[in-house]
């Protein structure tokens, strides 16, 4: 019976890993095994399916090849071992002392011999057993390995079921090792790790990488010191032409003489074959002997090019500094409406050394400007972020916020005051903004007036009505207090539930439903939401009515922390996208992105600094009759200021680093230049940007670390 049950468990787990465990009551263990095996098997199937998507990447490793490899390795190993063993025995017989030495060196010696053999003969041997593209056997190998691993895993599950059925508690080691190895092996395929490719293609990128790692030639301007002589040629040559005069050789400077100075252009016929025009005889002098002179042609509208297939264009200068050559007049297309004589130029150019001017190149100047822009983005974002983060951090600090509490009646009054105050503030702000000229004429004043008046009136409304209603109801009979609480809470609940109902209709149902159907049901759901909200809040009214205190500080803390955490978990690069959509390409977008992230990050850091201060001074200052503002100014700020400064510096450091890449999404600064240059394949210039970024970031890192150390 017992054996039977164990056998059954083992067989079941062999069919579906973990199933046998369920049978013997080891549910959790069985689920873990099923999950692990299932995930690995699923990944293997996924990887195998990927193969079909990349048919050109099929490099099979057949079992046959593997067998050949194995046989070869075994054969070579056996041969080496035999030879080495015979050698050892020979030494042993000869000399006891040598035998001791031999015993010590036996294993390392064998390994060394093996390495020597394989490095000499290995490649040749491997070629004989591997298919042509031997290095890229990865794919088939991986599937083969996975097959073996999965088989082992199945066997392990069965064995585990067999053991656990007998109430044993086997370890997880084998299972974890198998799943881990399998995942890593599959990982190489999913990530597309291809070592041969990386090694082979490195050589081709060496030059580009060199440009990036040492781009400093591109940072400066160079003057080309070249010798140049020019002769004029008229073509085509109408009968009434007065051709340009023939040049005369001139002593002491480069010269070129072309004859004749008037002739016909070469013409490409309808088949694309070139009909030669007039042959020009070219003589030149005054150049550096033994070096090359290049012949260039300049058409009447000033485009210079090297004429191909019309005669030599690179001529070696003779020992006396002269050269001679011939060239057919090139096939320059002269539009039919061109007027006047068509004068071309023939240049004889001898390139000389490039002369270092000491001037920064245009790109270097651009990069420096953009770097400054980046540093400024970081600086501005840090400062603006600090301004917003400080007040937010007070709300997100447990030790300050949790002391905020109110009576239920106070909450009702407060919410009433919040709504009324907000409405009054909105009205007033609207009037003032209109007087200022409205949103279009005075956007900033309008926004500031709205922000100040609406938040100010809402906060004041909250304070006054909260205290007022609290004080009022304390003088009333309990019945009135209860009525105020229940009615007020029901209204708050309804007001919160209404938009939730609407949101559910449009946002959740609207996903699968026809939007019109969702819109039709929305009013009903809003009412249901309001009703449910009112009911829930009536329950809260009962509970808090008994306690007499509403932990409003806890809510503020939780809400502020949640918002900060969500905003912080979104990367600045993504906020950069938001910024670019909002205000368009440029540094302003980057500034907005970094500011948003900085507010959230510093808000959290600051609030944690506040939470870690000594509570004693707060107590002391409070006991003198100080109110909340005074307590913060005298007991909290002096304690947290060093931490705030350190965190702000640290954030500045981060922001400058981020501002160098925020340009990648269009946020201005040096990242913007970098991505442009990379896309234009100007790797030397991109290298300049990379260097400037690295220098700036490491300098700032050092500076901010030094200052931080001084402060804290």
């Amino acid at each position: 019976m017992r054996i039977g049950k164990r056998l059954l468990a083992a067989v079941l787990s062999l069919l579906v890993p973990g199933l046998g465990h369920l049978l013997v009551g080891r549910v959790r263990r069985g689920l873990y095994i099923a999950l692990g095996t299932g995930v690995l098997a699923g990944l293997t199937v996924f990887t195998a399916a990927q193969r079909a998507r990349f048919p050109e990447e099929v490099y099979g490793l057949s079992a046959q090849v593997l067998l050949r490899l194995g046989l070869m390795a075994a054969f070579v190993w056996a041969a080496l071992w035999l030879v080495y063993g015979a050698l050892g025995r020979a030494v042993l017989r000869a000399d006891a002392e040598a035998a001791e030495l031999m015993a010590q060196l036996y294993t390392p010696g064998f390994v060394a011999l093996g390495v020597l053999f394989f490095s000499l003969a290995g490649p040749r041997l491997l070629q004989t057993v591997l298919p042509a593209d031997g290095e890229r056997l990865l794919y088939g190998t991986i599937l083969l390995i996975m097959g073996v691993l999965l088989a082992l895993l199945w066997w392990w599950a069965a064995r585990d079921a067999w053991q656990t059925a007998a109430d044993a508690e086997p370890g997880w080691g084998g299972f974890i090792a198998l799943v881990l190895v399998g995942t890593l092996v599959l990982g190489t395929r999913i990530v597309g790790i291809d070592l041969p490719k990386a090694i082979r293609e490195y050589r081709e990128t060496e030059r580009i990488l060199g440009d990036i790692f040492w781009p400093w030639r591109a940072a400066f301007d160079y003057e080309a010191t070249e010798l140049r002589a020019t002769a004029l040629v008229q073509a085509p040559c109408p009968p009434d032409a007065t051709p340009p005069p023939v040049n005369q050789p001139q002593e002491g400077q480069p010269w070129v003489v072309v004859e004749p100075t008037c002739g016909d252009l070469s013409v490409r016929d309808s088949k694309g074959k070139l009909q030669y025009g007039t042959l020009l005889h070219i003589r030149g002098g005054g150049f550096v002997p033994g070096k090359i002179v290049k012949i260039k042609w300049e058409n009447p509208i000033g485009n210079e090019f090297t004429p191909r297939g019309l005669g030599p264009t690179e001529i070696e200068v003779g020992p006396d500094g002269t050269f001679e050559s011939e060239l057919y007049i090139p096939d320059v297309v002269i539009p039919s409406f061109a007027q006047g004589p068509q004068i071309h130029k023939l240049h004889a150019v001898q390139p000389g050394a490039l002369r270092f001017t000491g001037q920064l190149s245009r790109e270097m100047k651009l990069a420096l400007q953009a770097m400054l822009e980046s540093i400024m983005i970081g600086l501005m974002a840090t400062f603006t972020g600090m301004l917003w983060a400080v007040p937010l951090s007070f709300l997100a600090a447990r030790n300050l916020t949790f002391t905020l509490r109110t009576s239920p009646q106070g909450l009702v009054g407060g919410v009433l005051g919040l709504v009324l105050g907000g409405a009054v503030g909105l009205q007033a702000a609207g009037r003032i903004a209109d007087a200022l000229g409205g949103l279009d004429a005075a956007p900033v004043s309008t926004a500031i007036v709205h922000f100040v008046l609406v938040t100010g009136a809402a906060v004041l409304g909250f304070r006054w009505l909260s205290r007022g209603l609290d004080a009022l109801t304390q003088r009333m009979p309990p019945l009135v207090t209860d009525a105020v609480r229940y009615i007020g809470f029901a209204l708050i609940g309804a007001a919160l539930g209404w938009p939730l109902g609407l949101g559910y209709a449009h946002g959740i149902l609207g996903i699968a439903w026809d939007p019109r159907d969702a819109a039709a049901i929305a009013p009903t759901l809003a009412r249901v939401g309001a009703g449910l909200g009112a009911l829930a809040w009536l329950g809260l009214a009962r509970r808090w009515g008994q306690q007499g205190v509403v932990p409003i500080g806890q809510w503020i803390y939780t809400i502020t922390r949640t918002i900060l955490n969500v905003v912080r978990s979104i990367e600045p690069l993504i906020w950069g996208l938001v910024g670019v959509i909002w205000v368009g390409l440029g540094p302003f977008a980057g500034f907005i992105a970094l500011t948003i992230h900085t507010v959230a990050a510093l808000g959290k850091l600051y609030s944690e600094a506040i939470e870690s201060i000594h509570p004693g001074p707060i107590e002391a200052v409070q006991s003198t009759g100080a109110n909340r503002l005074q307590t913060i100014m005298f007991a909290v700020l002096p304690q947290v200021l060093p931490h705030f400064t350190a965190y702000s510096l640290y954030r500045w450091d981060i922001n400058v680093r981020m501002s160098t890449v925020i340009g990648l999404v269009g946020g201005g600064g040096i990242g913007f230049l970098l991505i442009q240059w990379i896309r234009q394949v100007q790797y030397e210039h991109a290298g300049l940007a990379v260097w400037l970024i690295a220098l700036t970031v490491s300098t700032l890192d050092f500076v901010s670390a030094t200052i931080r150390k001084k402060i804290v």
């Binding site: 001074p617 003198t624 109110n627 005298f634």
Partner: protein
């Protein structure tokens, strides 16, 4: 006159720190509260100016119910009641003078604090208070540079500039050596005798209690278990002693 009526404090964790404590303090008394650590002395003192919100009971200060006050009322009452702490609770990074000036915060308009502004009169008063505790020359040093005894004198100066009618002192000498302890207690005694400031002070050392107290109350596990005078302490029986300090306590030198 201070009346404490049926004061009970239950912390959020369920710990009962004070249970139905009632007593009265006449103006000008030097009341010492004794009891073991955790017996509720700190909670009692902090409840009187509502640094800790009492759960039940009333505290009447000159017939004003402190437990029922709103924020503004509490502010007015707190500035009349000085508080001296065992760990001094100075703001270490601020100058000594500013620490003393925080005692005036209950009197000045709150928004002045945005600029750390105090009127010249208050600054003079603070310097006077420092003079009285013998630290005028340290006014512009950082509080963190002072020794323990000096810090406590700053703490007393801070309470002094409040112009208090009552002083609450939570084990003001527990962190100091015996010589300093007498010097600090001497300051408190002088305030009590020369200015008639009511003093409520919790103490550990019974010799200090005998020396300074005009009246003594004892707490044990949050209950009032002893009421008497300083002389009563001197002549306390072992039984009374054990009632306050527990069965296992040993009297030394008594």
């Amino acid at each position: 006159m201070l009346k404490v009526e049926h004061l009970t404090k239950v912390y959020g964790t369920g710990t009962v720190a004070l249970q139905d404590v009632s007593f009265e303090v006449e103006d000008g008394e030097f009341l010492v509260i004794i009891g073991l650590s955790g017996s509720g002395k700190s909670t009692l003192l902090r409840s009187i100016n509502r640094l800790i919100e009492p759960t039940e009971g009333r505290i009447l200060w000159n017939d004003v119910d402190i437990t029922a006050l709103d924020e503004a009322g509490l502010r007015r009452i707190r500035r009349e009641i000085g508080f001296v702490f065992q760990e001094f609770n100075l703001v270490e990074r601020l100058p000594v003078l500013t620490n003393v000036l925080t005692g005036r915060l209950g009197y000045v308009p709150p928004w002045w604090s945005l600029f750390y502004y105090f009127p010249a009169q208050d600054r003079r008063r603070a310097l006077d208070a420092l003079e009285q505790v013998g630290l005028a020359d340290r006014a512009h040093h950082r509080a963190s540079e002072l020794s323990g005894g000096q810090k406590q004198r700053v703490g007393i100066a801070r309470a002094l500039v409040q112009n208090p009618k009552m002083l609450l002192a939570d084990e003001p000498v527990a962190s100091l050596d015996p010589v300093l302890a007498h010097s600090i207690m001497g300051y408190l005694e002088r305030l009590n005798q020369e200015r008639g400031i009511t003093i409520l002070c919790s103490l550990h050392y019974l010799d200090l209690v005998q020396r300074y107290a005009t009246r003594v109350i004892g707490l044990r596990n949050g209950r009032l278990v002893f009421e008497g005078t300083g002389d009563d302490i001197r002549h306390m029986t072992d039984e009374e002693f054990k009632q306050i300090y527990g069965e296992e306590a040993q009297r030394l030198g008594g």
